[in-house]
Symmetry: C2
Subunit: 246 residues, 2 copies
């Protein structure tokens, strides 16, 4: 019977749970099962892995709790749309944020070039030397006044489409959020004084306090993008709500 499935303990020290879960997670995170895809029915998975329905059920319940899957009675279980923002510390989509405040959002691309990652710049740590990147510098405006300058690198190895996107009207952050699923991110937040160039771009005096948000976003082990956003200290706050659990 299904005993045969249990007589194969040689290689894997993992439990059945974990293997099934890892399998499903892998298919979702790798993109093999895209958002909206209906995953196999519990019956099918149960046959496929040779286990009881409770076992499959438990795994899927876990994925639901993790926010990867949505279940609908009678219809099946579906891979969920990537949420625009994590429930914990949102990856800010500046356009939305400004709009939510009732101000007019503006965007301007300052420069754009394709080049090869050199490795010298610490910003490029995590991107393989020799890898192609898009390098952008752009400005975010609120009611016509600049409030943030953004320097960004996008790894072409992970997002080849980025090479042919015209970022002169679309901010790279918004574009990436809508096009590329990510699995992890790292924020570094600091305060620093505006340099000469930054002061000019942000229309503040040199030395004015600015909030600096550096963000690296990953998919699996690959760095997707690095962004450094410098905000006028007098015009921007970061807010995060969260609870111990989810």
């Amino acid at each position: 019977m299904t005993v045969s499935a249990k007589t194969v303990p040689p290689a894997e020290p993992t439990t059945l749970h974990q293997r099934i879960r890892a399998d499903l997670e892998g298919k979702i995170l790798s993109g093999e099962w895209k958002p909206g895809h209906r995953i196999p029915f519990e019956h099918e998975l149960m046959a496929q892995y040779g286990c009881a329905r409770m076992t499959v059920n438990k795994v899927i319940a876990g994925l639901v709790a993790a926010g990867l899957i949505e279940r609908r009675r009678r219809a099946g279980s579906f891979v969920i749309q990537p949420r625009i923002q994590s429930a914990v510390l949102e990856i800010p989509d500046l356009a939305n944020e400004i709009a939510a405040r009732g101000e007019a959002y503006g965007y301007r691309l300052l420069s754009r070039r394709l080049r090869v990652a050199g490795g010298a710049d610490p910003a490029e740590s995590g991107m393989a030397t020799g890898e192609g990147v898009v390098e952008l510098r752009c400005l975010h405006l609120s009611n016509g006044r600049p409030f943030a300058v953004e320097d960004r690198l996008i790894a072409l190895a992970v997002v080849p489409e980025a090479a042919s996107v015209d970022f002169s009207r679309t901010a790279p952050g918004s574009w990436l959020l809508g096009h590329v699923p990510w699995t992890a991110a790292e924020h570094r937040i600091s305060a620093l004084a505006a340099g000469a160039r930054e002061a000019r771009d942000l229309d503040v005096t040199k030395g004015a306090p600015c909030l600096c948000l550096e963000r690296r976003t990953f998919r699996a082990e690959q760095t997707i993008t690095y962004a450094r956003q410098l905000f006028r200290g007098d015009a921007y706050n970061l807010v995060a709500h969260f609870s111990p659990k989810g």
Copy 2:
């Protein structure tokens, strides 16, 4: 048999799961079961609620996933110490952080008074007017040099013990993390220029950029504490790692 348990659907539209879970969560969050408390064995809960062990097991597994409970074989299941840091954006325990960097942590209490919340100060929003609070001002040092000043309010209605704690050696943040379970928090991060007093406390020039972290922590609907930490911009970064799920 246990059917009698199922023939009582009158008042509650909730499932057995949810009721048990709510029960246990309530006991933990209300403080009835303090951190370290051994919750009843699965056998006992199973008898208490008249259900199968799987059901209890599922509930407890959920609480483990939520980070409220820790399980130890043979020993039982225990209410977890409030985690030093949430997995998502840690509530920084400055002493630990400095120690982790290999620097010597120092702390100094600048002032302490008991008073009544006035409501005028925006810092006190969320605390009922007329409520007693402990008001602290203290300094955090790294290798003997100041790197952060902290202003803090603690609501005595929620944490009456705070009135009799001597904060001259223990930082309020560390004390609260170890003594009071919280259910939600809100961070506001901004950059601003050091004022005269702050410049003096932090040993920087007036106008130097500082990272300002305001934090409000809640238990159920009550504000537990408000903290405003001002960091030297040249000495401190906030780092947050996270993924779409938890």
